[in-house]
């Protein structure tokens, strides 16, 4: 796979570390225990478009949100995770 890092340009996927689902948001400190449980343990596993976090470990050290179709590996977008909320 080739991932177009917005900072470094197109690079081989072996430069990146995969971190899974980009959707979970860390709950506020006063959220119930269940919210933290879900944040830590629950992940979707769709067959289709998926927004996931990748870390450009052998590059610029950016955390990226990669929108990838898990069936075809087609990558629709790559953006910085910073400010993704």
């Amino acid at each position: 796979m080739r991932i177009h890092c917005p900072h470094c340009g197109p690079r081989g996927h072996d430069e990146f570390v995969h971190h899974g689902d980009a959707a979970p948001r860390r709950p506020q400190a006063d959220a119930p225990d269940a919210a933290f449980h879900d944040y830590v343990y629950l992940r979707d596993n769709p067959a289709g478009p998926y927004r996931e976090l990748w870390f450009h470990a052998a590059g610029c050290h950016s955390w990226l949100v990669v929108e990838r179709d898990t069936r075809t590996h087609e990558i629709r977008s790559v953006t910085f995770a910073r400010g993704d909320a």
């Binding site: 796979m1 080739r2 081989g12 570390v17 971190h19 860390r26 400190a29 225990d33 933290f36 449980h37 944040y39 830590v40 343990y41 976090l53 870390f55 470990a57 050290h61 950016s62 955390w63 590996h73 990558i75 910085f80 995770a81 910073r82 400010g83 993704d84």
Partner: protein, 987 residues
């Protein structure tokens, strides 16, 4: 008997090459393959088959060869299962036939053929079922001896392999007419082009067939095109390079056989090079593979693909037989008749199953009989002597011949289009599987796309390249294809094999016959993927290149489905076998990954250090002196030196991260479980970091060097993971925090100076103004310092050993000089270097947790660090760390362990069991995590994780090590063995 023609071919007759096959000496010419040279010397029997040990000859002239597999070279370079049809001849080549015993001509195991009813499809699932204990000891070794391909050299590979990456606009796979045209269009248009050809020569079919292009031979045309390509900037020609895999987003793997055509690679050259090619567009112009026909004993040496016969005649000037029969269901194969005649062979007959071909074939047949019908069976012992033909009228003819050239039409080589999972589509009208669902960056031209004539290959090559370039925004420059003559290409495929005597082979390499497929179908394994597993059809080195289509057609006939409905099995990389060495490249042995050396490595080596791998680092384990032959005496001596005088240890491998910014404190507060608000500038503190699930991730120290300037360390093992975690926290969770940080692990050399006389030693290398008194620089102080020569460094009063101790950090490039200065300055104090063994002993004596306890499964509470968990703030893991399950008394807790009999040794990994209870899993109560011989106490000590251990100090248990068959009675104690009040480190 030489079968070499007096002239012609693309061989260099001025260069005679000597080689041996099964110890017999032969000669060939430069430009030969091993198969061509053997055929030229009249060798027809080249191997024995996998299961039945039947005699086999050369079937093809390419990488699809299923029969002519040989062991090449000798000694450490011996390589089994090389295809003689693609092995380039070199002087001194040694080859051995495989899978025969005691010899190729006389193979005792050919008796297997008599037992073939026992060895049918799925035989190993059925025949050797009972008794089950016999499988491992009797049946499997027996079968492995009888059935199998070549044997490996078990010596280390002496050759060198390398990897390379290349980028281009257009990758062209294959250099036949279509590939050359595509490459030429792209080259003339200024695109970056890579042309990969598996053969040593460019040209594809132009090398094998007598084709006229324009006003000359196709071969001359090839040479002019290749010359132009070679002279065009931006074009990379890769002969001897097989593209073996297609990967996502236009990435390809190719193997370049840089030095397989010589006896051994020259100095400093690799044997093979593994390419990763990243191409914006790729044109697959890999051609097509000819299909064998199925009839009784169709595996006899002398039965050959028609295209192979033409190749041996036209390219290698070898006449594969004297009296030939052509058996084909298509007009294209008639060219082989002309080639045979030109080579001086007699055409015994042309056998064609198509009644409608009779009139057209008459022109080709000339004086040879033309039989409308099918070949029922090949006749002969070790070599073909004749064929039985059943005419359309049912009349059986027996023809004497020593060569049968067969052709069942052509199957596009579409493997690379299916590696991403797309299934090829069956085109019933054209009787071929064609590429389907191609990604926009992968295109197909020529025969690979079903365009079988030269004229169509030329024009599709141009058209596809032009389209590709346009889609990249590159204006294509016009190329006019040479005029190609008319080619006969009518084809009515013959799928059904005639019934009759003899084995009708579908897969030559795996000895799979129509009977095996029938059995598979009868037993419910008729789906293509099932049949493959049940019969081994299409497995091993050729991966069904000559057998897949016949197998599917046979299954289709049994199931009453169409070939398209049966469908192909899945195509996976690699297209042809790849040496493991090529995949590994440089990454083998000690070079498996880069080795990181500490700044004091050279000095430590001079001190006689024994090194040990610690992650990617090489660290000094201990420093034996003369006479110290075992590891324990130097470790004891080093510990005693630190506890009595002073020692030096390189701790640069700790992860080091520098943080700055107005929100650095806030960031650190959220990162660590304990509090930092009260940490003053110039002070350091121990910190524990959790994962969000509440378990301990890592520990280390954080020093506050300025109001907004912090410096933290991680454990050696977790340095990369912690840094990545911090980036995640900052970029993903809290991008609003104004903090910057970077890893400085490589930038600083850091040395522990530990022991009662460490202060005295440091004073000798620090500038006179530096005050190291306990008041000015107390325990946990952290400050910038100046050395006597003006070098700036940092000094931390940290102690892992429990003694008065410091860590001094200097820029890494000064590390070697500073460790030498420390050693020299402390000589009269008795300073010793100590390694990570002594470091480990002292941390166990002090009860500090390390990797053996920080397993990722332990909570802070279990490790006795529960009091550190702040309740005043939010931090990573704060919430789930408070779950009762993480502080459950039924769970294990950190304890100290000492043997009741102080002479006994403790074993790491031993399990705790009550004194009286039996040694069973349900009585297991925890285990020993770290052990050390404590020189200070004079006996072995350990740390362990014990259920409810904090409340069991003083209790006696058994520590049972079932792996080493050892049991020790132990007493549980406080996990601190030395100076529990910490008086020494504050002294």
């Amino acid at each position: 008997m030489s079968a070499r023609l007096p002239s012609g071919g693309l061989i260099d007759r001025t260069r005679t090459l000597r080689f041996s096959f099964d110890g017999r000496r032969h000669e060939g010419f430069a430009g030969d393959t091993l198969a061509a040279a053997l055929l030229a010397d009249g060798v027809r029997l080249v191997g024995r088959s996998f299961k039945y040990h039947r005699p086999r000859g050369v079937l093809t002239a390419g990488p699809e060869e299923p029969n002519a597999l040989v062991e090449l070279r000798s000694g450490a370079r011996r390589e089994p299962n090389t295809r003689a049809t693609v092995v380039e001849l070199y002087d001194g080549l040694e080859a051995q036939s495989q899978n025969r015993w005691p010899s190729l001509r006389f193979d005792l195991l050919a008796l297997n053929g008599l037992f073939s009813p026992l060895l049918g499809a799925g035989f190993y699932y059925k025949t050797f079922m009972w008794p089950s204990a016999f499988w491992e000891k009797v049946y499997e070794p027996l079968i492995r001896r009888a059935a199998g391909l070549g044997s490996l050299s078990t010596a280390p590979d002496p050759d060198h392999y390398e990897k390379a990456t290349a980028f281009c606009d257009l990758l062209v796979v294959g250099s036949g007419p279509a590939g050359l045209m595509a490459a030429l269009v792209a080259a003339r248009s200024g695109a970056r082009v890579i042309l990969a050809e598996q053969d040593c020569l460019f040209g594809g079919r132009c090398l094998s067939e007598r084709i006229v292009l324009g006003d000359g031979s196709a071969h001359r045309w090839v040479q002019s095109v290749v010359a132009e390509l070679a002279a065009t900037p931006g074009v990379r020609l890769l002969p001897r390079t097989t593209v073996v895999g297609t990967y996502d987003h236009g990435a390809y793997t190719a193997v370049e056989r840089v030095n397989d055509h010589v006896a051994a690679p020259p100095p400093f050259e690799p044997r093979q090079r593994l390419w990763r090619i990243v191409a914006k567009r790729a044109v697959l112009a890999a051609g097509a593979l000819e299909r064998p026909l199925v009839f009784g004993d169709n595996d006899l040496p002398g039965v050959m693909l028609a295209s192979a016969v033409s190749t041996y005649i036209n390219r290698y000037a070898v006449r594969p037989g004297e009296r030939a029969v052509l058996y084909a269901d298509n007009d294209h194969a008639w060219a082989t008749v002309a080639d045979l005649r030109a080579a001086g062979a007699e055409i015994v007959a042309i056998v064609d199953p198509r009644p409608d071909a009779r009139a057209r074939a008459a022109v080709v047949a000339r004086d040879a009989p033309l039989l409308t019908g099918v070949v029922r069976r090949a006749l002969g012992g070790r070599s073909l002597q004749g064929v039985e033909v059943v005419g359309a009228d049912g009349h059986v003819h027996r023809l004497d011949c020593d060569l049968l050239a067969m052709s069942g039409g052509w199957a596009p080589t579409l493997h690379l289009t299916s590696h991403l999972g797309a299934k090829p589509r069956w085109d019933a009208e054209r009787s071929m599987f064609l590429p389907e669902q191609l990604p926009p960056w992968l295109l197909v031209a020529g025969a690979a796309g079903g365009e079988l004539t030269t004229a169509a290959a030329l024009s599709t090559g141009i058209r596809i390249a032009e389209g590709s370039l346009q889609s990249l925004g590159i204006a294509p420059r016009g190329v006019t294809p040479p005029v190609a003559g008319e080619e006969a290409d009518a084809w009515t495929p013959l799928w059904r094999a005639p019934s009759g005597r003899g084995k009708r082979f579908i897969d030559f390499q795996n000895d799979v016959t129509t009977a095996d497929l029938e059995l598979a179908h009868r037993e419910g394994f008729g789906a293509s993927e099932h049949a493959k597993r049940y019969t081994t059809l299409g497995m091993a080195t050729d991966q069904g290149k000559t057998s897949a289509l016949n197998g599917l057609a046979t299954l289709a006939a049994f199931t009453g489905k169409s070939i398209g409905e049966v469908g192909t099995t899945t195509y996976r990389p690699p297209y042809t076998p790849v040496a493991i060495g090529a995949l590994a490249g440089h990454h083998r042995g000690p070079d498996f990954r880069p080795t990181r050396l500490t700044p004091s490595h050279e000095w430590a080596r001079e001190q006689g250090a024994v090194f040990i791998e610690s992650g990617a680092w090489l660290r000094a384990q201990y420093f034996p002196r003369a006479g110290e032959t075992d590891w324990l005496p130097p470790v004891i001596r080093e510990v005693q030196a630190v506890r009595s005088t002073v020692g030096l240890c390189d701790v640069s491998t700790l992860g080091k991260i520098e943080l700055k910014g107005p929100d650095a404190l806030r960031f650190i507060e959220r990162l660590y479980a304990n509090g930092w608000q009260t940490l003053a500038v110039g002070r350091a503190r121990y910190g524990v970091m959790l994962r969000e699930d509440g378990r301990v991730m890592d520990d280390g120290t954080v020093a506050r060097l300025g109001e907004q300037h912090w410096f933290m360390t991680t454990t050696t093992a977790n340095a990369v993971a912690v840094y990545q975690h911090m980036q995640h926290c900052h970029q993903v969770l809290w991008p609003e925090l104004d903090v910057q940080f970077t890893s400085v692990t490589e930038q600083w050399a850091q040395f522990a100076v530990a022991g009662p006389r460490s202060r005295e030693l440091l004073r000798r290398i620090l500038a006179s103004g530096e005050d190291l008194s306990n008041d000015a620089f107390p325990y946990m102080a952290a400050q910038a310092v100046t050395l006597t020569d003006g070098l700036r460094g940092r000094l931390f009063r940290l102690s892992f050993s429990g003694e008065l101790a410091y860590e001094i950090a200097v820029p890494a490039r000064h590390g070697d000089a500073v460790i030498r200065r420390l050693a020299a300055a402390g000589e009269d104090l008795g300073v010793v270097p100590y390694g990570i063994e002594a470091l480990g002993v002292m941390r166990i004596e002090k009860g500090h947790v390390a990797g053996n306890e920080l397993t990722g499964r332990t909570s802070a509470q279990q490790l006795g660090l529960g009091r550190m968990l702040s309740t005043q703030k939010d931090y990573i893991g704060a919430r789930l760390a408070r779950l009762p399950a993480l502080d459950d008394p039924a769970d294990t807790q950190l304890v100290g362990v000492r043997p009741v009999d102080v002479k006994t040794r403790l074993m790491s990994g031993a399990h705790f069991l009550p004194l009286a209870a039996p040694t069973t899993f349900e009585h297991e109560q925890g285990y020993v995590t770290s052990v050390a011989y404590s020189p200070s106490l004079g006996h072995w000590i350990a740390l362990g994780l014990l259920k409810n251990g904090r409340h069991r100090h003083g209790e006696r248990l058994r520590a049972v090590d079932l792996l080493r068959s050892q049991e020790t009675e132990v007493e549980i104690c406080e996990p601190v063995f030395i100076d529990p009040q910490g008086a020494r480190l504050r002294g």
